[in-house]
Amino acid sequence: MATLPSKPIADDVSLLVVLIDTNPFFWSTSSSSLNFHQFVSHVLVFLDLIVRLSQLNQIVVIATGHNTCDYIYDSSLDTDQVTGEGELPALYSFVLQRLEEFVNKDEKLGAKQDGLSEKRVSSLLSGSLSMALCYIQRVFRSGPLHPQPRILCLQGSPDGSEQYVSIMNAIFSAQRSMVPIDCCYVGSHNSAFLQQASYITGGVYVKPQHLEGLYQYLATVFAVDLHSRSFLQLPRPAGVDFRASCFCHKTTIDMGYVCSVCLSIFCKHHDKCSTCGSVFGKAQLDAASDRKRKASES
């Protein structure tokens, strides 16, 4: 018997979770033609566009800071319908105000930990990705009717290799729940994490060549709903940096040791796996070099 499949409201209604990078280290040093102010204004227009494309479209904005991340805006909550002061629409003034609060909070948190933390310049992408996925899970569970979710990362700061494990976990859980992660990387070098995220989840990775036209990139590539994507020519990845980070020193490596039990990655040979505790035998490479050394001694 035909049963009603759990189907989203319509093919072209989307739930867009946008992660905005507010990392002060990146934005203060970014030498590119785009400063934070311009960046935000491009993004705001884009957000407004998404909401206007369909009344059922929903957006959630999450700020990715240096020390923390937080929900900035959720269009499904009626934010007491403040009519915008002056010329700006309500959405703009609300998001701007919340962003400012967030940046201040982030700064305070940073000041507190200043002594403890080392020179870390990446932002807390793993945190905001997890928050986005949690939100999407809640939407999935809210009932059979829900818009099609996708995540858009607007990232500028370099990868924090210490977050490798948690980011990869987030990516795989996104893949499992069929949520594509789109990335628009505005930094100077490509981000290996985000390239992998888009590649694995079937999203789109774009590194705009002309940052002053960021809005055009956003509107052209990321405003398209998931249904229409299937018949559009979208930017394809030129090459994905698949390198992993090791679990012990969090450095990106080309070649390393993999635990045969839990697949943890290490850059150096260990006696015991730090993740699952399995005991390793002597590595071939080391054994060979040992023999050589012995040979030279004798």
Binding site: M1, R52, P89, A219
Partner: protein, 452 residues
């Protein structure tokens, strides 16, 4: 969603059919630009957003390059719609290549740009609470809207159950009923009328609005004014009061009709009077696109063919009455039984089993909606079986042959009919055979040949 033929797929077809000059007038209003943007097919939306901030035109070839081969039909549909709505203007370059190129309608583009970057103000400001006093809450408003709408529907189907009277003139009512009720002395719901009742509210609303607009010229109202006012109305905020003074005379008279439909609530204060848009009004532009909105159902069907509907509405009981026997009517509950007699009645009136089943499924109570299937299988199967019972006899034009002069000829004729797969019946004792009308010519030629 019951497949309903009586409703043209989209309200926008009507807008697209407007003459060019009137469309240009429509686009001078940024709200209408936005409403129209929302109604576009997804690919068309993409083209508009992409070209929104770029000046100049784009060649058709370049546009096509964005689309994969699979999507070329969708691409063409989108482009056609954009050209139809005059959002795209087509120009053919006079050069030797004769390339087609498109550009956005400048008024549309400018208005949409303004709307997105600066938001723009609502067509009219809501009145301050100091002037209006306490306004109805959103729940009250929704209840009011549904009551009005149901009352209107009850009138529409000429049920004696309606308590209030609508202010629609009988002639107006007749316009709405055209196509839904049979035009005899004792009006009865037609097939499409039944389908109309089984549709969801938004689709019903658009059907009525469409009739209302297409009838507007007879009443001396410009359809463009009506369309723009209706689209504008959908951008007002639900539950806020808006002063009637800000409206033109035409709009005010329209508004009293809309109040009858439950789109707005009219209220009078000491000095001013105002209108409060309800959810029905603000959802108007949502339903422009083909997407359906969520609606919570209230029907539980049990395996013993009992139907329970948790609703106090008379309209619901009228709808249930279309295909089942209503047994009790409690204050918040209608109990009905699906019986063979009632279903036969429904089938005779042109409702199909699939429509009934999908209606039951769509309106399933949230508790049972979680289950699969939401309507017990034995019930759905039985409904379908009863329907096929009615279709037991199939008619097809045929020809009967008898008086064959020899058994050989008869056998050969039967074989021929079998070869053409047109044999319907044969009786070898009395040498009679019935074949489909299509192969009559071949049979006749064959038998004539045999005779010689």
């Amino acid at each position: 969603m019951p497949q309903v033929r009586i409703i043209a797929k989209n309200f926008m077809d009507m807008v697209a059919a407007l003459p060019a000059m009137k469309l240009d007038i429509l686009y001078e209003n940024p709200f209408i630009c936005e409403a129209i943007l929302r109604s576009l097919p997804p690919l068309a939306k993409k083209y508009v957003t992409q070209m929104l901030f770029s000046e100049g035109s784009i060649t058709a070839k370049l546009l096509e390059e964005w689309v994969l081969p699979d999507g070329s039909t969708k691409h063409r549909v989108s482009i056609d719609r954009l050209v139809q709505l005059r959002i795209f203007t087509e120009s053919v370059e006079s050069g030797r290549k004769k390339e087609k190129s498109y550009r956005l309608n400048p008024t549309f583009q400018a208005n949409l740009q303004k709307r997105i970057t600066t938001g723009g103000v609502l067509p009219r400001e809501p009145m301050p609470p100091s002037l209006t006093g306490r306004l109805p809450s959103l729940e009250e408003l929704e209840k009011y809207a549904l009551e009005q709408w149901e009352c209107f529907l009850l009138h529409l189907i000429n049920s004696g159950q309606a308590e209030k009277v609508t202010s629609f003139s009988p002639s107006m009512m007749r316009v709405f009923q055209r196509g839904l009720l049979s035009q005899s002395k004792d009006p009865k719901l037609t097939e499409s009328g039944f389908q109309f009742l089984l549709m969801e509210t938004n689709a019903q609303l658009w059907y009525i609005i469409r009739e209302y607009i297409s009838n507007s010229e007879e009443r001396g109202v410009d359809p463009v004014d009506l369309i723009s006012f209706l689209l504008e109305l959908s951008f007002h905020m639900t539950g806020k009061a808006y002063n009637l003074n800000t409206l033109t005379d035409v709009q005010r008279s329209t508004l009293s009709d809309l109040a009858d439909l439950g789109l707005v609530k009219l209220q009078k204060g000491r000095n001013d009077s105002w209108f409060i848009p309800t959810k029905l009004a603000t959802n108007l532009s949502v339903s422009l696109a083909d997407s359906s909105t969520r609606k919570q159902g209230s029907i539980v069907v049990e395996t013993n063919f009992r139907v329970y509907e948790y609703s106090a509405s008379k309209l619901h009981s009228e709808i249930l009455r279309l295909f089942s026997r209503v047994e009790y009517h409690l204050p918040n509950l209608i109990v009905a039984a699906i019986t063979k007699e009632n279903l036969y009645g429904a089938f005779e009136n042109g409702i199909t089993a699939d429509q009934i089943v999908s209606f039951l499924q769509q309106n399933a109570h949230p508790r049972v909606a979680q289950r699969t299937p939401s309507v017990p299988e034995n019930v759905t199967d039985q409904i379908r079986l009863w329907e096929t019972d009615l279709n037991r006899v199939e008619m097809s034009p045929a020809h009967l042959y008898d008086d064959f002069h020899s058994r050989e000829v008869f056998e050969a004729a039967c074989d021929l009919a079998r070869e053409w797969s047109g044999l319907l019946w044969e009786d070898s004792d009395k040498m009679r055979v019935v074949v489909k009308a299509e192969i009559h010519q071949n049979m006749r030629d064959f038998i004539r040949g045999q005779r010689q």
